[in-house]
């Protein structure tokens, strides 16, 4: 469809709809043509600059520009204050603004649950789940532990001495650590850092004993033989078969469950927009993101980062969010991370 025509139809409709009953008819014409943004799209990032969310946002921005998928450009803004709370409040306070979207992670629930932030995901219009991110238990390659069982046995022998590095406090990394502790009945010394990149070099430098970084945060160090994956916290193994290091691929990493540790956790990477937008406006972004997903650039990105492919929209996505939120409340409650 031609953007300029759709645009002029829409503006003409807005003008006439206010005056005459013919506006009804006109609105349906516009509906058939679909809604399109009339201003540059603000794309808020709830994670730090250069981090996973920022990379995904800028990739989407780049793909949209390269393949001319939107009549208006996207402008990426970092709003990572308060662990992403800044981006959430921005979306909440921009009610009815169809030119604003945000990329969110599981901080979407963990931040409101662990702080007194007056926000719930229901204060937004969920657009689409883009992918899920896996968590892997990593140790330094120089350490003597080759399986998750060996490592956990060592931690159990000397509880609260093994340092586990993670991004932020009471966020996904500490939640995953708490799940490991609950499943095995031991205790790590959890050390919060600002972000995944920093933690990676801390593990390689031997300043912490382990971390639970996402695959993309450690792939380069794994390839260089500096870190060793022990298990992945998912119900099944990752599907990627390309060899990375020592003749092993992502699919060779056992699940933690196979290793006798009952801990499962995946993190959402999703797009939301403000409440009070029309179905057509939401649909524009659903279609846009679906087109992004089908480009070769996106596929390459997913393969490289070993993301779990999953695309959910509409009611299915909202159901997912409700379940995922409950799960977080349960795990975080057990670990004592909920705000009092």
């Amino acid at each position: 469809m031609e953007p300029t025509i759709a645009h002029s139809v829409w503006t003409r409709c807005k003008r006439s709809a206010a005056w005459t009953a013919a506006g009804l008819l006109c609105a349906s014409t516009a509906l058939a043509a679909g809604w399109e943004p009339t201003k540059p799209i603000t794309f808020a990032v709830s994670g730090g600059p250069g981090g996973g969310a920022d990379q995904m946002a800028r990739l989407i921005q780049g793909i949209v520009a390269k393949h001319h998928l939107s009549p208006q450009p996207m402008v990426v803004v970092i709003e990572n204050g308060g662990g992403g709370g800044q981006a959430f409040m921005d979306i909440k306070n921009s009610k009815g603004d169809p030119n604003k979207i945000a990329i969110v992670l599981s901080n979407f629930y963990s931040v409101p649950l662990s702080t007194h932030l007056d926000f719930n995901w229901r204060d937004t219009t969920p657009v689409a789940l883009m992918a899920l991110d896996e968590f892997v238990l990593w140790v330094n390659a120089k350490s003597p532990y080759h399986t998750a069982q060996e490592y956990i046995a060592a931690v159990k022998a000397k509880p609260d001495t093994f340092k586990m590095g993670g991004a932020g406090s009471k966020r996904e990394d500490q939640i995953v650590t708490a799940m490991l502790e609950q499943a095995t009945g031991t205790k790590f010394t959890f050390i919060p850092y600002k972000g995944g990149g920093e933690i990676s070099s801390q593990l390689v430098g031997g300043h912490i004993e382990s971390d639970v970084n996402n695959p993309i945060e450690h792939i380069a160090h794994w390839r260089a033989g500096q870190v060793r994956p022990l298990c992945v916290m998912d119900d099944k193994r990752m599907p990627f078969k390309a060899k990375i290091a020592g003749g092993k691929s992502w699919s060779d990493i056992p699940t933690c469950k196979e290793e006798g540790i009952d801990a499962q956790y995946v993190m959402l990477r999703a797009i939301v927009m403000p409440k009070g937008v029309t179905d057509e406006q939401r649909q524009f972004y659903v279609d846009l993101l679906d087109k992004v997903r089908k480009t070769p650039e996106w596929k390459e990105f997913v393969d490289r980062g070993a993301y779990k492919e999953d695309f959910l929209t509409g009611a299915a996505f909202e159901k997912f969010l409700a379940q995922d939120e409950n799960r977080h409340r349960e795990i975080m409650g057990k670990a004592g991370f909920l705000a009092k």
């Binding site: 600059p49 250069g50 981090g51 920022d54 990379q55 800028r58 990739l59 921005q61 780049g62 793909i63 520009a65 390269k66 996207m74 990426v76 803004v77 970092i78 709003e79 990572n80 204050g81 308060g82 662990g83 709370g85 800044q86 409040m89 921005d90 662990s114 702080t115 007194h116 932030l117 007056d118 340092k163 932020g168 406090s169 009471k170 966020r171 500490q174 010394t189 050390i191 919060p192 850092y193 600002k194 990149g197 920093e198 990676s200 070099s201 801390q202 390689v204 430098g205 031997g206 300043h207 993309i216 792939i219 380069a220 160090h221 390839r223 260089a224 500096q226 390459e300 990105f301 490289r304």
Partner: protein, 508 residues
């Protein structure tokens, strides 16, 4: 040497017409970004990043890294002319750069700043070219205790060098620490001092504070002193560049020290801002006329600029060799690498030689080109000072407001800027120093995180700061610098004249 062969291959990559053109575009954009306060190098690089999506990765990184060099050069311009740091790393440049400009020696100060920047960068690039694999491992030695020791060293190298009384310095520093604590606390995951306002969740942005304290504060003070309708005398003869250059070899010691500090802080990674403060502090400590620092000393411009640029350049070393970002800009570039389909990390040098050596070669070319471009602008920028204050001041306020707005794309930045402008005015009227506040605002948060991470790991024992030779020597050096005035006084008591007492920074 193998490096030479690879470097020349790199030059052949970087010197294609397309890449050379991108280099120039990058530098010019970078200078623009550097001159405008608020729009720092990380923002500039992030904004351009999606545009590079369709370029070959080598061309993309050449353009973006040249923008980084340009921004580092450009940051000094407004620091010297208007006392408004364009980049966080050029705050220390204002201390002597602005007084020099006030005395009509702006062209000299600008030339020094640019030349110092260039020399610092050059040392950094040599380091990357020949010693990258050797040095890189050093960055991995840094855990939380080492980081804290480096921040402590930065604070200590800065203590006791101001002319203001110690209690005012401490008060300003504590205010800075207080402001650094606003926002989310990394260690507990709770919000601190945000009072439920989303605006404060991000923390108090350093750039906004600096624009307000320095820029607006300065204008308020000048207005009170009476509007001057004449511009300042400013020599704009190009010959001044050559004359300044002829005087530079005298300061070889300062240049060398600052370049070393900068490289070290870039690799570790302490950052360009910390490096510039430390460079200034150490230069003053070693200077023969330390009490003249802050009144317009050439060394006071050379030292921070050399350190900042050396640090900014060598910050790319851990990024290339290890995949660790040494600065905020390097972090954004690192994200870019992944978007372009490269995998930053230990194998980048061997798997992508065209990319790595093309980038290194472009650093040489980019910095030479950058120096020529900025030197050509010296007379133009120096001439700005001839324009009457009543015309320039409104323009500065507009540029400051735009800058403060850009930091988070919101009006809240502009209001904060106004508040800090008033704070800056009172600081100046009451003779409180601004530098300690800025320093603790920049490093307070990082120092706090590093200290608390260390305490978690050591279960509360301070002995960890002497647990290995590296952290032990940095901590000891920091403590020596902290007690330097006291030590110097004791030393002086053993039969030296009172003049040398004052020279060592002890107040009578």
């Amino acid at each position: 040497m193998e490096a030479f062969g690879l470097l020349f291959h790199g030059f052949s990559v970087a010197l294609t017409g397309y890449n050379a053109w991108l280099m120039l575009v990058g530098i010019l954009l970078g200078i623009l970004v550097g001159v405008l306060p608020g729009l720092g190098a990380p923002n500039g690089v992030a904004i351009l990043l999606p545009l590079t999506f369709t370029m070959p990765p080598t061309s993309a990184v050449i353009m973006l890294s040249c923008m980084y060099w340009g921004a580092l050069f450009g940051g000094a311009i407004t620091s010297i002319l208007f006392n408004i740091p364009g980049e966080p790393s050029s705050v220390a440049t204002t201390f002597d750069g602005y007084p020099l400009a006030q005395k009509g020696r702006a062209a000299e100060a600008l030339t020094c700043a640019f030349t110092g920047s260039f020399l610092g960068a050059f040392v950094g690039i040599l380091l990357i070219t020949f010693l990258a694999p050797v040095i890189a491992g050093f960055a991995l030695e840094f855990g939380p205790p080492e980081f804290f020791a480096v921040y402590l060293l930065t604070f200590c190298s800065f203590i006791g060098i101001g002319k203001e009384p110690a209690d005012k310095t401490i008060l300003a520093m504590m205010l800075g620490f207080g402001m650094a604590a606003v926002g989310m606390d990394t260690m507990s995951g709770n919000m601190r001092l945000t009072f439920g306002s989303p605006m404060l969740m991000q923390g108090i942005d350093f750039l906004v504070v600096v624009i307000g304290l320095f820029g607006i504060g300065e204008i308020l003070v000048t207005m009170e002193e009476g509007l001057r309708f004449e511009g300042k005398a400013a020599s704009i003869s190009p010959r001044i560049i050559l004359r300044t250059w002829a005087s530079l070899p005298r300061y070889w010691g300062t240049l060398l020290r600052s370049a070393c500090i900068g490289c070290w802080m870039g690799v570790t990674p302490g950052g360009a801002t910390a490096a510039s403060f430390m460079g200034y502090g150490i230069a003053k400590r070693f200077a023969s006329e330390a009490d003249k620092f802050g009144t317009g000393q050439i060394e006071g411009v050379l030292a921070p600029e050399t350190a900042a640029h050396a640090s900014g350049t060598s910050a790319l070393l851990p990024m290339l060799v290890l995949g660790i970002p040494g600065s905020a800009t390097a972090a954004v570039l690192l994200g870019g690498l992944m978007i372009w389909g490269l995998e930053p990390g230990p194998l980048l040098f061997s798997s992508q030689p065209d990319f790595v050596w093309g980038l290194i070669a472009s650093m040489y070319l980019g910095n030479v080109a950058g120096l020529l471009v900025v030197l050509a602008t010296v007379p133009i920028f120096a001439a700005i000072l001839r324009i009457p204050f009543s015309i320039v001041a409104p323009l500065i306020i507009v540029v400051c407001a735009v800058g403060a707005f850009t930091v988070h794309n919101s009006m809240s930045g502009v209001w904060l800027m106004g508040i800090f402008g008033v704070v800056g005015y009172f600081f100046k009227k009451l003779d409180y120093p601004l530098a300690p506040l800025v320093l603790s605002l920049v490093l307070g948060d990082k120092a706090e995180d590093a200290f608390r991470q260390t305490m978690l790991a050591s279960k509360g024992s301070l002995a960890i700061f002497w647990s290995n030779p590296l952290v032990g020597s940095i901590t000891t050096l920091a403590l020596v610098l902290l007690f330097w005035p006291l030590l110097a006084a004791l030393w002086a008591k053993r039969g030296q004249s009172p003049i040398s007492l004052r020279r060592n920074g002890v107040r009578s």
